[in-house]
């Protein structure tokens, strides 16, 4: 079974870390940078991907911390 990715998403004026499909945030932060830091730790622990969304809600960046058949460029 594929592990669910971690997502850094806008949440009102703040930024949250959410597991894919979840309605509740794992954590919420004042800045996107803080949320990315928390999300990265979670993704590493879970051995999965971290998806960073823009303020518009769409994925703008992806980082893999598990077995990734399609590793991000660069």
């Amino acid at each position: 079974m594929t592990k669910k990715g971690q997502h850094v998403v806008p949440n009102g004026g703040k930024w949250s870390v959410k597991t894919a499909g979840a309605s509740r945030a794992s954590s919420t932060h004042k800045t996107q940078a803080e949320a990315i830091k928390a999300g990265t730790q979670r993704a590493k622990k879970e051995g999965t991907e971290l998806y960073v969304h823009g303020r518009d809600g769409r994925i703008r960046e992806r980082n893999s911390y598990g077995h990734d058949p399609h590793p991000p460029k660069g």
Partner: protein, 208 residues
């Protein structure tokens, strides 16, 4: 074969790249709640006139979501965008004069800031008019609430819809990467292809 009238939602929104994130979030919300978003580009048969295509979508959709947030010009000498209010008028006329099931049609109007419509289209006072402030999360909440209230959609919470939107995007990125696309390709896909992928994801049982 077109989707059934009772489950079809005509989405009358701007198609410019700046609005695409809000349009895509609205489409996801509609599709995820079990309805079929109907967009003008979906039946882009060059043989049919654009207006005829729009009328066909309006007549085939019980529900209409009309976003008027681009009707206001943003710079001097820029023309206001008139297509959205024009298509809203077609939808309203279809409900008023279409007869039969057309009388059951329902309309939601979205705008950027509260009471913008009063300055440009005060005839619609008293309609279902909601504000999204150009925020995709607010747009999802407004559309979700309206579909639950007026269309009998399952009352899935807006936060759940947004969580599933993230799950869909993750699935979509993985699928497209597996087909040989790169990340820049995926970011530039047009809304009608993303909408098709939303239906694929739902048909596959909403995998996470």
């Amino acid at each position: 074969m077109p989707p059934p009238f009772e489950r079809s939602v005509f989405v009358n929104c701007p198609f410019d790249p700046e609005f695409a994130p809000i349009l895509q979030a609205i489409c996801f919300c509609v599709a995820n709640l079990g309805f079929r978003p109907r967009l003008a580009p979906e039946n882009a048969d060059n043989a049919a006139a654009r207006l005829d295509r729009i009328i066909e979508l309006v007549r085939g959709s019980k529900f209409g979501i009309h976003d008027l947030s681009r009707c206001k010009s943003t710079a001097a000498n820029e023309y206001a965008r008139m297509n959205m209010p024009f298509e809203l008028g077609i939808d309203h006329a279809c409900r008023r004069y279409g007869g039969g099931q057309m009388e059951t049609k329902m309309i939601l109007v979205l705008e950027r800031t509260r009471y913008d419509y009063q300055k440009a289209l005060s005839d619609i006072s008293g309609w279902d008019i909601q504000v999204h402030g150009e925020d995709h999360q607010k747009a999802v909440r407004r559309v979700r609430d309206w579909l639950v209230d007026r269309a009998g959609a399952e009352a899935i919470g807006a936060a759940k819809v947004l969580g599933e939107y993230a799950a869909f995007q993750e699935w979509y990125w993985k699928r497209e990467l597996a087909t040989g696309a790169d990340e820049d390709d995926i970011k530039e896909y047009p809304t009608n292809l993303i909408l098709r992928a939303m239906h694929d994801w739902i048909d596959a049982g909403k995998p996470v």
